[in-house]
């Protein structure tokens, strides 16, 4: 299957070329000839879902280990060669996938793809470095223990999706202790393959060249199948973590449709009206009018088979109950006084961001991957603009009143618990 899409450009000549290699790997390229840089994101189906019941943290540990030497390069060689190519790199483990990515001066891209083919296809997985990698993972866990916001949000994620689908990529002290170099090798062998893989490239590149490089480096990679996600199993509940902190950190979540669902953009617009920008409902009514918080926000999250809204507010303990009630109250009464001006501001914000994304090869590469992953296609900037433009206030109000947030999951961290009986069934 191959194809190219070309649409009426709103900002520049825009063409995203998508091809599927024989082994199943999808390659998507957007040329942005006005830039000096190029970026890629390589997404494989080796995320937390692929871990076995007891192996929490294995996907992350494997991600760390594949970068400790690959092909003809040692761990240090890999860092040196990537620095010399000017690659600003990142990697991340998510529920269904792992992503490696980098932005760089455009002339480095060919070599960069060759190196990443080594990393994902020919890693050394040196067993004498396994203990170091495990220690690193334990350091990260300890780091999280000292970060109240992260603690709250990680726990909230487990409660929202259920223990398995909501499992943290960091694992636990106990699960990390039980992992071994052999488990890493098994995980690598089973889950690093071209099945369901996506390589997105954006920037000052020639799409023919990129397609050729991609098929040279990945065309003969073995294929495989992705582990299906666990079913969501979270239930409405409240958990309080007691801590002598200065603020009470409040996290809340509820079910929502994921990106790819027909109603997604209606939901996204509603959350935008609540939380995007300084005139949004939460910022204006919780912070600006009442001075209850410095930080208050909500955002959407999409997994393969589930979606949710996650929100956070931090406030001093004596005002935490009021903050919880005012914040969640805004979700309940969104449609009471919805105005067209609010929707228009949100549209301008999204449209501006879309246009400004043309200045960044790395944002484009990661958007392409997330589109393809969730939708099985890539939305061009102009397609997305027209979806956003066509949203009406009535649609959003209708969606919201038939999908009022309920079944909240709430986690607080602070000196004492809150009364959440209004929100938790």
């Amino acid at each position: 299957m191959s194809g190219s899409m070309s649409t009426t450009p709103s900002v520049a000549t825009e063409e995203i070329r998508i091809e599927k290699l024989a082994n199943g790997m999808v390659v998507a390229v957007q040329a942005m000839p006005w830039l000096r840089t190029a970026a890629f994101t390589l997404c494989l189906r080796a995320g937390v879902n692929a871990e076995s019941e007891t192996d929490a943290g294995l996907a992350s540990l494997t991600c760390e280990m594949v970068e400790r030497g690959a092909g003809q390069y040692s761990s240090r060689d890999l860092v040196a060669i990537q620095d010399n190519l000017g690659m600003d790199r990142s990697s991340g483990v998510a529920t269904s996938s792992i992503s490696f990515g980098a932005a760089m001066p455009a002339e480095s891209l060919e070599k960069a793809l060759e190196i990443y083919a080594d990393i994902v296809r020919r890693p050394h997985l040196p067993s004498d470095q396994f203990e170091d990698a495990r220690m690193m993972a334990l350091q990260e866990l300890r780091g999280i223990e000292d970060e109240p916001t992260q603690r709250v949000m990680l726990r909230l994620r487990e409660l929202q999706y259920g223990d398995r689908l909501g499992r943290s990529q960091h694992g636990t002290k106990e699960s990390l202790a039980a992992l071994s170099s052999d488990r890493v090798r098994d995980f690598y062998t089973k889950h690093y393959h071209s099945g369901g893989a996506i390589l997105a490239v954006a920037g000052n590149v020639d799409s023919n060249e990129v397609m050729r490089w991609a098929s040279e480096h990945f065309g003969d990679w073995k294929t495989g199948s992705a582990v299906p996600p666990a079913a969501p199993s979270g239930k409405s509940t409240y958990e309080s973590i007691e801590s002598p902190s200065s603020q009470t950190h409040i996290g809340f979540a509820f079910d929502a449709v994921p990106f790819g669902h027909d109603d997604y953009f209606k939901m996204r617009a509603a959350i935008g009206i609540l939380s995007d920008g300084m005139s949004s409902r939460l910022f204006d009514r919780v912070r600006e009018q009442r001075g209850l918080c410095y930080t208050v926000s909500a955002g959407t999250q999409s997994l393969e088979n589930a979606g949710a809204v996650f929100g956070y507010a931090g406030t001093t303990p004596e005002r935490a109950q009021q903050t919880l009630e005012v914040t969640l109250g805004e979700f309940a009464r969104l449609t009471d006084d919805l105005t067209l001006a609010e929707l228009d501001r949100w549209k301008v914000r999204i449209q501006s961001n879309l246009i400004m994304e043309q200045e960044s090869s790395s944002s484009r590469a990661s958007s392409i991957v997330s589109d393809y992953f969730q939708l099985g296609q890539v939305l061009s900037t102009s397609e997305l603009e027209s979806i956003i433009e066509s949203l009406t206030l009535d649609e959003i109000a209708e969606y919201w009143s038939t999908h009022l947030p309920n079944h909240y999951r709430i986690v607080t961290l602070g000196p004492s618990p809150l009364d959440t009986s209004l929100f938790v069934q």
């Binding site: 223990e145 603020q247 005139s279 410095y294 501006s352």
Partner: protein
Amino acid sequence: MATFHTHTLPNGLRIAAEIDHRCYSAALGYFIRAGARDETDGESGLSHFLEHMMFKGTDSRSAADVNRELDELGGNSNAYTSEEQTVYYATVLPKFQDRLVELLTDMLTPKLDEHEFQTERKVILEEIAKYEDQPPFGAFERAMEIYFGPRGLGRRVLGTKESIESMEAPTMQNYFDRRYRPENIVVAASGNVDFDGLVEALEKQTKPWSDRHVPPLPSPDDTSSLPIGIEVEPTLEVEGLAQAYLIQMNRGPSMASEDRYASRILASILGDEGGSRLFWELIDTGRAETATVWPQEFADCGAWFTYLVCEKSDLALNKKLIQDIMTRTAEHGVTNEELEQAVNKATAACIMQSERPGNRLFSIGSRWLTQSKYVSTDEMLDNFRRLDQQRIAAAAAKYLAQQPTTEVIVSDGT
């Protein structure tokens, strides 16, 4: 090709712009010489509090109007306050330039409404509480207080709970009148900007700024005692911590210093995340969560920071490992491979940053405000590429040889 343009208005306000009409966006910012170092004890936290109040309404706009109109321009707008400056900025599509200039300029003559002042005080107190819960739990502020003394550059940007609770609106008005004068202000712009339009609009709209009355100077601080709410103990205890946090400070290069580029490369070789001397010794091996160094440049001086986060029981050993690496580097310098690698990384980062006007804005504005100098991306690339091993070795000998003068440790106290 980006071009640089500058203009000074009759009232003394300076304008500096790096213009490239190929960009999709235009970034614009007001850079004000008003930071924590300009405050007296009774004004502690005022630069930052005032920054918040700029969003709370003018004679012609309510607080809600300001926020709403900023959002109507799409893009990203925000503000921040440091020891030396307060910055208000936004990145928008070029078609919104005139509206943005008018809005930001109007915001910069705030009404300082009493009711808004009282509400915003609570937000600032929440911001202080928020940082108390975040690693490293106020340790950077404490290190700055000890290193520079609790006034000047050592003054806390947010102020203290006590100074914010006792703050009054008239004190803020006086501080505003003293610092927000055209001669203390730079407007910087980058990207797809209409420069003539910008100059014309600013000349017209900031004309009344030169008529601002000059308030009496605040009474000088009593330097024989500590400002209210300030402690200078080098150890902090936080209940229930899983890790320990160490910050060391030493002399470093200033913004004007000849060896600032050498110092940045030296810091990259020593402390970069993902591949540096400290990384290989402490992070890659799982000995520490964080182990890094960086120079922080101020207008007339600088500081060299070391930051270590690890298990409490490993702190002493890790600290010694870091000290050994610093001493070795001070004595023997760096290898040519390390130098090339760090320069390649730094120059690529400059090129990537240059693609987004919103990223370029800050170095253009800050440098024009403090030094009336402009460094283009190409010049910056040259400055990095010109470095040789001798210059890195000289910077290492200068900044790494001494024992740290200030050290702050945060742990659970058990």
